[in-house]
Symmetry: C2
Subunit: 344 residues, 2 copies
DNA sequence: CTGTTAGCGCCTTCAA
DNA sequence: TTGAAGGCGCTAACAG
């Protein structure tokens, strides 16, 4: 690899002059600038960003950690983050924790040793506190995405999970549903708790009682709680609708329902958080609370870069993005059969 | 940030000894090793990978460049690449060219300045030759994914586009279709040319003539060729089926068809390459040639790492992965109306 | 406008 | 088993 010294020798200048040409700093005569540039081209020079980072003490690299790279919510978010990072001249190092604390920890170690300038961090859950504290210890600025972590004060971009949940469940109640199950994410994830709160709120507003036996905790990545679902369906008064806490849970639940011979929405209505990406636009089916995924990424990135660039310490900022109810065909009024079942 | 010197001072040893402890090299007495380790913990030491890379002349980082981060084909591929990279102790720097040569070039500049050890490269198309040659000039090993680039000899992992296309079109012909349109990717992308070849082959095998006016060239990212589509539909003998060269084109085409009042498959059948991710599994609709996206990533990564690790120069390797015909409900026999239209 | 010196954090080489 | 010197490629600070 050619270095500034190689260029310097061939152009009959000092390395420092080459460095100045590369970075457009200081004053340089047009003549030498041209000469140096020409040699750089000839020798195909590319600056070594490692060496530069070492002396500048900054890398111009940022990290984005998401919890599921196959989920359209996060890929859309990633694109928002990437577009914004690029606009500010930052490179982006992606990482994927798979909702797994161990992988998340590995990733944080990597971040630390790479000395990135900042991190966009979608935490796996409450136990992400420790890796986040590590980032803090090492003075690496970060912004939380999508999920809060109790005990951690930081900039963050969240969705309004409670209100979104309230809308979804409110919609089901308006349709006439009275027995609504909740298939939630893990309870150590803030969005799961808030969606639960919204679920309760909707019941309260409608003056309906809540039956705790209608709530199942699962995992945002996929649905494996078949036996719990069977339990729900065998209840004396089974649910006529299901609120799945995210898109992938909804898919899993619907597949499980169909295996058991239930139709959606004829036998049960299903709603969930988050869209499904371009594929869904073909045959829009699920009634969802749609979140502005791209904005999560681009706004989060802006907060992060602002914090990195600001000399003084900014106050902590917390953005909450609303979601939007999109009524499609996975919801309907409960059928007489269902209502009868519910009357048991 | 604490350095090996900070540790050294506190542990009463030289920096060199600390370095040896960190890397588990050389012989060190158990006593000092323990002492040093303890101080490292206390001070929360994390090695600076920039500094290390600078002297070792390798970064243990690889790059993955894909052309569309929102396309499930590529996110699945990315996960395969990531899993394998991690298994071998490499970090992965993602990049997204959006099928855009300019962005791709920027990305290659970034790769060069970051001095990554190797690149998994899904080229935007034939004009990617130049950035690839740059990588070659700088002796950075790479593996091509999904697409060939004429004039570039390299390791690669491809899908069998021709045979996949032949299967899809063969399926349409078996159903009775005789007028089959092809909405292809851009002609400077190798897969588009091969899918075109498979389309021709299927016709030839069935003894059917090919009508060039039934072929439209578009862009893999999305479908904007509405007027060209209108042209097809107004033909005296319009197509009764459409082969879209990838998943996103199929989505665009079907939406355009529906806007015009056509139903799929009643009025026109549609087939395409690639699946749609988990969302599609709910209401499987499109008949596709499904590619093993994860394998593209994981096998490509293996080839890359093998090449990086091998002292001698390996022969060039080219893997071609088969695709699988998945018949779903976007295809049906042509209706009498259509056949009548075709009889004009 | 240009050059010299020193050092970012680490590891290789050689010496003790 | 341990340490000292030097250098990876670059730039800040100072000098001319």
């Amino acid at each position: 690899m050619t270095t500034i010294y190689d260029i310097a020798k061939k152009a009959n200048v000092s390395a420092m002059t080459v460095s100045r040409v590369v970075n457009n700093t200081g004053r340089i005569s047009e003549a030498t600038r041209k000469r140096v540039k020409k040699v750089m081209e000839e020798m195909n020079y590319v600056p070594n960003s490692m060496a530069r980072s070492l002396v500048l003490q900054k890398t111009k690299m940022l990290s984005l950690l998401i919890t599921d790279i196959t989920n359209p919510f996060f890929t859309t978010l990633a694109r928002g983050a990437e577009d914004t990072a690029k606009r500010y001249g930052y490179k982006l190092l992606f990482g994927n924790s798979d909702e797994d604390y161990a992988k998340e920890k590995d990733y944080v170690d990597m971040i630390l040793s790479t000395r990135v300038d900042g991190v966009l961090f979608a935490p796996a859950g409450d136990r992400s506190l420790e890796p986040l504290q590590q980032l803090q210890n090492h003075q690496i600025p970060f912004v939380l995405l999508d999920r809060e972590v109790p005990g951690m004060e930081a900039d963050m971009v969240l969705g309004d999970s409670k209100e979104g949940a309230r809308m979804l469940v409110g919609h089901l109640i308006e349709l006439g549903h009275r027995r609504i199950a909740l298939i939630n994410g893990a309870p150590d994830v803030s969005t799961a708790r808030l969606r639960s709160a919204g679920y309760l709120e909707a019941h309260k507003l409608a003056g309906l009682p809540v039956d705790e036996s209608l709530v199942i905790y699962a995992n945002y990545r996929d649905f494996h709680e078949d036996s719990a679902l069977d339990g729900l369906l065998r209840l004396p008064s089974p649910p006529t609708a299901i609120f799945a806490a995210n898109n992938f849970l909804a898919i899993g639940v619907i597949q499980a329902l169909r295996q058991r011979g239930y139709r959606v929405p004829e036998d049960l209505s299903v709603v969930c958080f988050d869209d499904f990406g371009p594929a869904e636009s073909l045959n829009p089916f699920l009634t969802v609370a749609s979140q502005q995924a791209y904005q999560f990424g681009s706004l989060g990135m802006q907060l992060l870069i602002e914090r990195i660039d600001s000399e003084s310490d900014l106050p902590r900022r917390k953005l909450v993005l609303p979601s939007e109810l999109r009524i499609r065909s996975s919801t309907a009024a409960p059928t007489s059969i269902n209502t009868k079942a519910a009357d048991h």
